[in-house]
Amino acid sequence: MKKYLFLPVFLFALVANAQIDSTLLKRIPVDTSSTQTMNMDAVYNRPFLQIGNLPASIGGYVEADYQYMGQDGITEGHSFRIPRFTLFVASSIHRKIKFLSEIELEEGGKQISIEFAALDLNFHPLLNLRGGVVMNPIGAFNQNHDGPKWEFVDRPIAMTEMLAATWSNVGFGLYGKYYSKAWAFGYEAYLTNGFDNSIISNNQNKTFLPAAKENALRFEESSNGQPLFTGKIAVRNNKVGEIGLSYMGGIYNRFEEDGLVLDAKRHLDVVAVDFNTTISATKTYLVGEWAWVMVDVPETYSQQFGERQKGGFVDIVQPILRGKLAGFDKAVFSLACRLEYVDWNVGRFEETGGNISDDLWAVVPTISFRPVSQTVIRLNYRYMQQQDILGNPPAKIGGVQFGLSSYF
């Protein structure tokens, strides 16, 4: 039986091999020459693979990891995950019109989502129109979230669970950049569909912006007919780094239906500041982000759902070995550490005047190895303490995470 199977497989391999001409494949590398690349460029500044003269190019990245975590002496044991497998397709329709889509399969396909699928029309460097499924530019992580760019297995909690990264929506907007010597200035402004009641009515028992991601209908229609505004301005100096200030806000709840009033209009406001810089003397890379969330929660609802949240992270990455390592010409060994904090509920109890806790902090020391710039192998140790709303003794969570992530 085996020899009969061998023949068609062998013939198929010959044919298949004949169809591949590696000279037709052209790798479009990440633009590392420009020092004026900003976070807002991250969506296009990715490695792509182009086939011949086709106007489309493809790319993507994959993340896989192992973890051994536990809480207060209890562990779930060893676990292997494939948290993300993402595909990009980009094409140039005209020298001033381009399209890019990003489709993400989370946890082996458990959730498939369009994170980005937008058409960009360039009228002037300061005036570009973008429409489609866009990533709301709140903070920097939402735009610059690709796994291979980071030295850590997990994404920062404040930026993914408080700010809902990767938060994308259907809408339109304008963006542009202006350069002057060592300086770059960028802006973005979008109107998109927004959040919904689930941010204060969910199974997380807290104000939780990512709950709105569960609503797939947001790509079809707004939950309340009110646009969500997201805007960002950022400044970059080649020698200093980049700082961004962003805002996202709008009415989040379904306040009427069929002309009948269901509730008051309730507003959501998010402000974020982000930065990144490299200390030239030591080549230490610092990146961080901090955000504040303000939600109009009905007074007669529960303080379980906070009106204010705050949180952020800072990553410190110190390359310690560069050069030819293990057969890779430009490999980099780095030590890094992430510090992160989230307060899910900023406020005081009406009943006692005491502080509402519901917060967490984490320290994540890391060793990472980049054989090439687009691939990273990382070994993290995570230690985290998490307090409940009452401020009772915290749950202590810790463990190791090992993972790899690469563009392809």
Partner: protein
């Protein structure tokens, strides 16, 4: 390079054993199962644990529309005593053996509402009592006692002349109540043993009521929505309720700490000498139970499960079942010292959290506890400290 990789691998291999934060000492936490459960009982314990601590209700899955809390765990963090954030307000019944006046919104105030709805408001001038949620550990032992055992401590006419009576709360059972062999029918009513006034006969009664009155969650057992007053589809399954009841029955009993400390031993002696133990009965032994781990076990809850006159200072003018407005069930004292670990670092003691220290709580005892309180007041500072250290060790 090779050395570096080798070191990392060795570190990783050894790290796995030591990287998980330590398990707290068993006597420092209230949650956890009874020892001796079999595998199927442990599986049901886990199902109940999930429903009790992790299942959160939102408007999409039945919460409210008016409610007090969004999950069982919101009121009983770590299975311990609750915080004023989830204080319950009961009203409607102002005399023993009278109806709970459902038409004015009783028996419990739902002081919160999902967006777009208005919470219930206490009718003006209506007496009410506030109740801090109790700890739920060790309840299986209390539920395994027989009515006959409870009645051995009852002395409604104070025949022994010690100034302490002790009466059971006779409660009209809900329609779904199924008497067990250890329940005694008293003209259609049964002895309540759970709740601050002992108004719940068993943990099933307590659980169904809490889903309904605390979260606005209906079930086949209690299908009437407290907001509309109308029967609606069940919002929690029978199985989930049974899992939660099983979880409550099989939570371990709190474990005393530093039992051999001389000062704590002295405090324990004083506790008996000043007659605290006349109501806070220290030791009980269960008979045979359907759960082997609860059968024939001696345990130390420091309660007699009976109602006592606690004086005018603790009379809120409202009641449940056959209890007088000034009568309260003796609360179990086990786990008392761990209360701040579930109450946000502070004590909120007595039925409504009005006492912020154990001493304050003792001094608020009146009625049948007057003698004990007076004796406590006359203790030396050293003896008071010993007594309080003993109570903290429970």
């Amino acid at each position: 390079m090779k050395k570096l990789i080798l070191i990392l691998l060795v570190c990783l291999a050894f790290a796995c054993e030591n990287i998980i934060p330590e398990l707290p000492a068993e006597n420092e936490i209230l949650d956890g199962p009874l020892k001796g459960l079999n595998t199927s009982e442990q599986a049901q314990f886990l199902a109940g644990d999930f429903a009790f601590n992790d299942e959160v209700f939102s408007s999409g899955v039945g919460l409210g529309p008016t409610f007090v809390a969004t999950s069982c765990g919101s009121c009983h963090a770590g299975d311990g005593k609750g915080h004023p954030f989830t204080t319950l307000t009961r009203f409607g019944q102002t005399a023993p053996n009278t109806p709970p006046n459902l038409h004015i919104g009783g028996p419990q105030l739902q002081n919160r509402a999902i967006p777009g709805y208005t919470p219930e408001i206490l009718p003006e001038g209506t007496p009410f009592m506030k109740l801090t949620p109790p700890a739920v550990t060790g309840l299986g032992f209390l539920s395994a006692l027989t009515d006959e055992q409870i009645l051995t401590n009852a002395d409604p006419y104070d025949l022994d002349g010690d100034g302490i009576s002790g009466v059971p709360n006779y409660v009209n059972p809900p329609a779904y109540f199924v008497p067990q062999r250890f329940h005694q029918d008293a003209h259609g009513r049964y002895i309540g043993r759970f709740g601050k006034k002992a108004a719940a006969i068993d943990l099933h009664h307590q659980t169904v009521s809490a889903y309904n009155q605390d979260m606005g969650i209906t079930s086949t057992f209690e299908p009437v929505d407290p907001f509309s007053g109308l029967a609606v589809d069940p919002e929690v399954s029978d199985q989930t309720i049974r899992d939660v009841v099983f979880y409550l029955r099989t939570l371990k009993a709190p474990i005393q700490r530093s039992q051999n400390d001389q000062q704590i031993i002295q405090g324990k002696t004083l506790f008996s000498q000043i007659q605290c133990g006349d109501c806070h009965t220290s030791e009980w032994t269960t008979l045979t139970s359907d759960i082997v781990a609860l059968s024939n076990k001696t345990f130390f809850p420091y309660t007699d499960l009976l109602l006592h006159d606690m004086g005018t200072g603790l009379d809120d003018g409202v009641t449940e079942g056959s209890a007088e407005t000034f009568e309260w069930r003796t609360p179990p004292l086990w786990g008392l010292g761990l209360s701040p670990n579930s109450q946000g670092g502070s004590y909120f003691l007595m039925h409504d959290g009005r006492a912020s220290t154990i001493e304050e709580a003792i001094l608020q005892h009146g009625g049948e506890a007057n003698t004990s309180r007076t004796k406590f007041e006359s203790l030396s500072a050293e003896d008071k400290t010993a007594l309080i250290r003993f109570l903290e060790s429970l």
